[in-house]
Amino acid sequence: MFLRTLVAAAMALALSPLAEAQPIRIGAFLSVTGPAAFLGDPEQKTLELYVEKLNAAGGVLGRKLELVAYDSAGDAEKARGYVKRLIEQDKVDVLVGGSTTGETMAAVPLAEAAGMPFISLAGAVVIIEPVKKWVFKTPHTDRMACEKVFADMRARGATKAALISGAGGFDRSMRAECLKVAGAQGVQIVADETYGAGDTDMTAQLAKIKGTPGVQAVLNAGFGQGPAIVTKNYRQLGIGVPLYQSHGVASKQYVSLAGDAAEGVRLPAAALLVAETLPDADPQKKVVTGYKRDYESRFKQEVSTFGGHAYDGLMLAVEAMQRARSTDKAKVRDALEATRGYVGTGGVVNMSAQDHMGLDLSAFRMLEVRKGDWTLVK
């Protein structure tokens, strides 16, 4: 009897450090290749980099992190398959991923049914509206970008705006959101023009906007080369009212493509893009400069907001586990929902039972192009 207890105790002793050493598994499914590779590639790199960094610093709850990542290649059907595998075979503790809205929405029913905390990295509002018990997201939404632009227009005394947008998914989604929220922001959309993918000249649409009476500002909801062409045509036609671009072109590339024509253009963007320009008192300064330095020194390529979304997703999960003092899925979920004042690359996150994103308009900074560089609009 005594012997058996002793053996059991010894076994328990022997087993317990082993149990302790079981890594915490982070399950990821990202569009590393395919049409959305510009999203998934920096996301995957970011997750690898920070899992490594966290492990070097001693891990989480005394356990190592292990990243289990699959390439869903922008395909919702593949994403569904991988998420099933992550939940059933890999038995991960938390899901971080879904580079696109399609992949995310394919994973939502599985995460909900399995009771798996899931932090999405995709943009659309539908992911968190209506609120789903187990689903959270880190990126800001199109709607917030619209609201930010309209608020800035109002501050400059413009209440009648024209909208010009492209034919891509990003463009169309943002156009719809802008049309939806314009009224509530006190801005009336008096012209709504579109251009096709691969169009070479937008002066016809802009001439129509120029000829529309009462236009006080123009917003271009666009992605790719379209917005740069719009900007050049805008100057060519000598339209005098302010031009706004979307967060879709918040990159150095836009400024270098549009050249001098971009002077004075305003757009909403995440703090990450202007990391160095932020005042030292800015709450996000430390996080964004740190992430930018880590990422750029490791991968020798310019940081993007998409990688930042993955950083926020991983850190939110880790922080929730630390607050919950466990990896129990229900406890982690509750801790995620109780996130308050987490400062990430995307903004300051305050989650609640009604809001599984937790960002407000301060997540976007209004930038203006001056002398070929971004400046913060106060």
Binding site: D199, T200, A204, Q205
Partner: protein
Amino acid sequence: MIAQYVLSGLTTGAIYALVALGFAIIYNASHVINFAQGEFVMIGGMASAAFFDAGLPLPVAIVLSIGVATLVGLLLEKLAVEPARDASVITLIIITIGASILLRGLATLVWDKKIHRLPAFSGEAPIVIGSTAGGATLLPQVLWVLGVSAAAVALLTWFFRRTLTGKAILAVSHNRLAARLMGISVRRVLAVSFGLSAALGALAGALIAPISFTAWDVGVMLGLKGFAAAILGGLGSSAGAVLGGLALGLIESLGAGYLSSAYKDVFAFLIIIAALVFLPNGLLGRRAAERV
């Protein structure tokens, strides 16, 4: 207002016209619609931008890019079209579609997936037409595109009517067997036509890049619109290609201006369908006279 719509239409129309010209040459030689024509345009733009960014002067960069594209055109003919030269026209067309996909993929490997720019040849300051404050404007680069299109039409007309090679190309197009019996090398004619249209496409790409930028995938839409312009103008006619391009550009911009920009492309393609039904040979196409 109408003046601006017309100038906008001329801008896009000039671009379509230049792309459409490339279709005419290969069609003349083989009755093949070369769906890789847009990719020649892309190679011209991307190679010019790459050479220019590497520090070469703009004219040198453009000449080199035309050289690169010509080489690609010749290789395409040698490796993909010539081995299948006895196949039907449809098969050859499908081969060019495959080639276009391959070339786009290669472009992302050789260069990258970013959008590139090329400086305008003679400044970016718009030319204002009309003295009133609301005068219409045009970019100087558009005049380059129009001028080169006109010069290309003149040269091609001279080439096809006056030179032996040009006449040989037309002869092959009319009756391949008879041409071969007369001692014309069909193989050489095909090679010349692919090289020539690749060179013209590349020149178009370099001319267009300052207006609308360039990227690995610009060839898809440019090729499609250029093809539509060539159909509208009459396949195989260089003057028709230019006319078709300008007409297409004007239809698009007037449609966007007076009706709705959301249905801009719909008007353009409706007109083309109408043209195919009522004017099957296009605006300036030759009547196909079949001799029994």
